[in-house]
């Protein structure tokens, strides 16, 4: 049975002893400066970046609206440029933002890649890791907890205090829980208000905080709280099984290296060699092959398009293309667009599913490495994860298809088949088309993308207390 009074005493004592010493405060001030710097520069960079993207978007939109009367197919090739903006919480957790493209050119017939990523213009400094508040909280705060907590139980063994404590009514579990509570209180008090405050301030400075963003902030705070708790349990457990403080420190630093450097890197490279994704040339080749299998609009004898022609003539009851009330060229073009877009989407979804299985290795390993769990869920909630970028790609492709389809409709009905390319239509036709606006993934979807990470975090907490109970039951760890 547990003695709550005793636990509280131990926790209070732990709290007091940490704040009595100068080193924790010195380390904390370093972390404070680093995280404030990270938040500020991150926020500044994101708002500057979004400002730039918005200006570019405005320019492209103005150019689109001020086009003179043109042939609709010219407009389809003139196309549209979409600029990706960073999410409201991306200044907190950069996630994949620097490694994904920032602009995409949308035109008829072609699905272009999203280009101009920041990593593409970086000389490799980026590859050491980016300094963001999330990075401080995920990587450095655990190290801070290790440094302030490694001797927490081990030193009691070394100086014999543990035996005295155990002679009183307290059980070993009480002591371990008390230590955990004390350390967790320190971690939460030092970092959670900082996290909450920077996230809210950062969003207030950009405008008002949307209710959904607030929900994300609250969830992030809770999840980071859980993460710190897991680290504290780990530190207390290792400290409890170690013979001396020094051994505890060594083991903990080793675990840190393993969790933060070795496992994440090995996991991802393993994932990508287990599930090989096609590269661009192979990807495009298979699409091209599938498209020409289905129907080749360039080939006059192609059975698919011959069939289309026969059906169209029959539908309108005429015997030649030139007598059709609609522009047959536009009809063929839209049919080609339907085919290629359909095939592209199928292959793209397959590609994404390969990437997902590559990333799944990391998600599953979150059960072995809590850092992977918090890294993934933090990206999910900040809207800088794989799924958010995939949503951007899919939405731009959908927009491209719709836009081209509408232009083909104008072509179909307003341009005559004879002397097709000599004609123009009023610019009004495309001025009414809706502009592209990215619809970020709703929280629910972010959470479902991060369900493994969430489960891993909860399991880690439960398992952590289980381990504490186990450690406390073993006599060898009390000596």
């Amino acid at each position: 049975m547990m003695h709550f009074k005793f636990i509280t005493v131990i926790a209070r004592q732990e709290w007091a002893s940490i704040f009595r010493s100068k080193i924790p405060l010195a380390l904390f001030s370093v972390l404070l400066v680093v995280s404030l710097l990270a938040t500020f520069t991150g926020w500044q960079y994101v708002s500057k970046f979004n400002h730039q993207q918005r200006a570019a978007h405005q320019q492209v939109h103005d150019q689109w609206m001020s086009q003179p009367n043109r042939h609709p197919h010219r407009v389809a090739h003139y196309g549209y440029l979409v600029f990706r903006e960073k999410s409201a919480l991306s200044f907190f957790d950069f996630g994949l933002d620097s490694y994904v493209g920032n602009s995409v050119f949308l035109e008829a017939h072609r699905q272009n890649t999203v280009n101009m990523s920041e990593a593409g213009f970086s000389n490799g400094m980026l590859r050491f890791g980016e300094l963001s508040m999330a990075m401080v909280l995920q990587l450095l705060v655990p190290l801070f907890i290790i440094f302030i907590g490694f001797q927490t139980v081990a030193s009691l063994k070394q100086n014999g205090v543990l035996k005295i404590l155990l002679c009183q009514r307290a059980s070993y579990l009480d002591i371990l829980i008390g230590k955990t509570a004390g350390l967790t209180a320190v971690g939460w008090t030092l970092f959670l208000p900082l996290l909450l405050l920077s996230l809210i301030t950062g969003n207030l400075l950009t405008g008002q905080v949307a209710a959904e963003t607030l929900l994300r902030i609250v969830m992030l705070t809770i999840l980071y709280a859980l993460y710190f708790l897991i680290i504290v349990i780990l530190v207390v457990a290792v400290s409890a099984v170690s013979k001396s403080s020094k051994n505890a420190l060594m083991s903990l630093v080793l675990i840190w290296m393993l969790f933060f450097i070795v496992i994440p890197k090995s996991a991802q490279t393993l994932g990508s060699s287990l599930h090989q994704a096609p590269d661009k040339i192979a990807f495009e080749q298979t699409i091209e092959q599938d498209v020409s299998k289905q129907g080749d609009s360039h080939n006059p004898d192609d059975p698919y398009f011959a069939n289309l022609k026969a059906n169209t003539l029959k539908k309108y009851g005429v015997d030649s293309i030139s007598k059709l009330p609609v522009n047959y060229g536009a009809l063929v073009m839209q049919e080609g667009e339907n085919i290629s877009s359909d095939i592209f989407n199928r292959h793209f979804d397959h590609l994404i599913s390969i990437y997902r299985s590559q990333n799944a290795v990391c998600s599953i390993l979150a059960f072995a490495d809590p850092y992977l769990a918090i890294r993934n869920i933090s990206m999910n909630l900040s809207g800088t994860d794989f799924e958010s970028f995939t949503a951007f790609q899919k939405q731009t492709e959908k927009y491209r298809f719709e836009k081209t389809k509408k232009l083909n409709e104008i072509h179909l009905t307003q341009i005559k088949y004879q002397n097709d390319n000599q004609q123009k239509v009023s610019a009004k036709n495309w001025q009414q088309q809706p502009d592209f606006a990215f619809q970020p993934l709703p929280v629910a979807e972010n959470l479902s993308a991060g369900s493994f990470s969430l489960a891993a975090l909860v399991l880690w907490v439960l398992a952590g207390f289980g381990v504490l109970a186990y450690v406390s039951s073993k006599r060898e760890y009390q000596l």
């Binding site: 043109r70 994949l96 970086s122 890197k265």
Partner: protein, 463 residues
């Protein structure tokens, strides 16, 4: 300084038989072998893809030709893609650098080039974010940890368990005792370095030439740097826990925090808004021409290619010569921002090299990428070779476009072959010197600290 051979032998035995050495060396070797596998696989796949390019190109041109039969070259020339590749240097497997981020094949049409240069490769962004576990990662990130594990308790361990007093009493020179202990560790570290490096040379089939030697020199200097930093911390004469904490903090600062801050500094001081601007300008520059009189467009084209002035361009109807002149002027109008973009990217490179002289970790990584030709500069060279090829292609087809020529009567594969960029043996002296300065500096300071913290005490005791 005389080193007692018996003591030295004992120290060698003690150290080598300890758990740390075996675990450390074995785990490094395991990671080393995994990194060789990873580097070989990643670059191997790239090479494989590039090897498929000639076949793809041939088939593609045949298709275009089949579709184009009966039409004029001016119409057909719109369709073909011309492939280019950026072959990996033999050292890229050792240090993958930016090769996974940047595209290693690009295909270009005869249309305006600027919109085609920045197409990205299809990659999983999470894989890019996590980065590669290549041989350079093992040396740059993992070796320092091995060195820290070997050295953090050199003297403090003995002090902590009371053996040091005996050493002080029995040894004829405390300096020699410490030096002996350090030499044993340095020897093991250097042997491990050479072992892993030789394994890399064999596994990755690195040629026995100057660049390989350069890699070796950088790696050895870098390992020496971490050894001397560890010695410096030991020289402070603090506890094992302090040493370990301090060294891990230094490692985190140099390998994570410092580059993170430097990256922000570089991005802020040299932003590249030209990336978006180039795309917008090129598109507008070309498309606006459709609605403008043809003469000014043609004049811009003739300024560069006066030989085509003699061919008539009708003012009131479409002609292929005019079409390609429009595409060309799209490039002319974005040339300014495109040049600026390249310029800024080079400025970023220069700035980061300057920053690297304050941080041996960055200096070493940059030097390795440079030798491997896997850095941003190398990619820019590739882009320039693509631009040159694009020009060759245009100039090959222009005559057939301006003089109406049937598609089937020209050789579509007869254009000048693409010239891949050559391996550039870039000097990495600056990087080496930067690391060396740090090695010498920390050695000097450790000597001073040793004198103050260890030797002096002995003197007073002996006095």
């Amino acid at each position: 300084m005389k080193i007692n051979h018996k003591v030295l032998l004992l120290e060698i035995k003690n150290f080598l038989l300890g758990k740390t050495v075996l675990t450390g060396v074995v785990s490094l070797l395991v990671f080393g072998f995994y990194s060789f596998y990873h580097g070989k696989q990643l670059i191997g796949r790239q090479q494989q893809t590039m090897a498929s390019v000639p076949g793809v190109q041939k088939q593609h041109l045949q298709q275009i030709l089949a579709h184009g039969t009966g039409k004029m070259v001016g119409t057909t020339a719109y369709y073909p893609f011309f492939y280019t590749t950026n072959p990996a240097s033999p050292w890229a497997k050792f240090s993958i650098g930016q090769r996974d981020v940047n595209p290693f094949t690009l295909k270009v049409k005869m249309l305006a080039i600027e919109g085609q240069l920045y197409d990205s490769e299809l990659t999983n962004p999470l894989t890019l974010l996590v980065g590669n576990l290549d041989a350079s990662f093992v040396f740059i990130f993992l070796f320092p940890l091995l060195i820290i594990a070997f050295t953090y308790n050199v003297v403090s361990e003995e002090q902590e368990n009371g053996v040091w007093k005996i050493v002080q009493a029995t040894s004829n020179g405390i300096g020699a005792a410490i030096a002996g202990k350090l030499m044993v560790r340095l020897a093991v570290i250097l042997v491990t370095t050479l072992l892993v490096f030789t394994a890399a040379v064999v596994a990755l089939q690195l040629p026995a030439s100057l660049p390989t030697l350069k890699l070796l020199i950088v790696v050895v200097l870098y390992v020496m740097f971490w050894f001397t930093v560890s010695v410096l911390i030991i020289a402070l004469g603090k506890s094992s826990s302090f040493n370990a904490t301090a060294l891990v903090c230094i490692w985190i600062f140099l390998a994570i925090l410092f580059p993170g801050v430097a990256n922000i500094a570089i991005n802020n001081s040299i932003p590249v808004p030209e990336a978006a601007e180039t795309a917008i300008r090129q598109r507008e520059g070309y498309h606006a021409k459709w609605d403008e009189p043809k003469k000014p467009t043609m004049e811009k084209f003739y300024a560069v290619y006066p030989q085509y002035r003699t061919y008539p361009i009708p003012e009131d109807s479409y002609s292929p010569g005019w079409y390609y002149a429009m595409q060309f002027s799209g490039d002319l109008e974005s040339a300014n921002s495109s040049e600026k973009l390249f310029e800024k990217v080079m400025q970023r490179q220069t700035l980061s090299e300057r920053i690297a002289s304050f941080n041996p970790v960055i200096a070493a990584q940059q030097s390795l990428n440079k030798v491997a030709n896997t850095d941003l500069t190398s990619h820019i060279r590739y882009l320039q070779s693509v631009k040159a090829h694009h020009r060759q292609i245009r100039e090959y087809f222009y005559p057939f476009i301006f003089v109406d020529t049937p598609t089937e009567s020209i050789d579509w594969a007869g254009y000048p072959a693409y010239q891949p960029k050559q391996y550039v043996n870039e000097p990495v002296f600056a990087g080496m010197i930067a690391i060396l300065v740090w090695v010498v500096g920390s050695l000097l300071f450790s000597l001073i600290f040793f004198k103050r913290n260890f030797i002096k005490i002995i003197d007073t005791q002996n006095a």
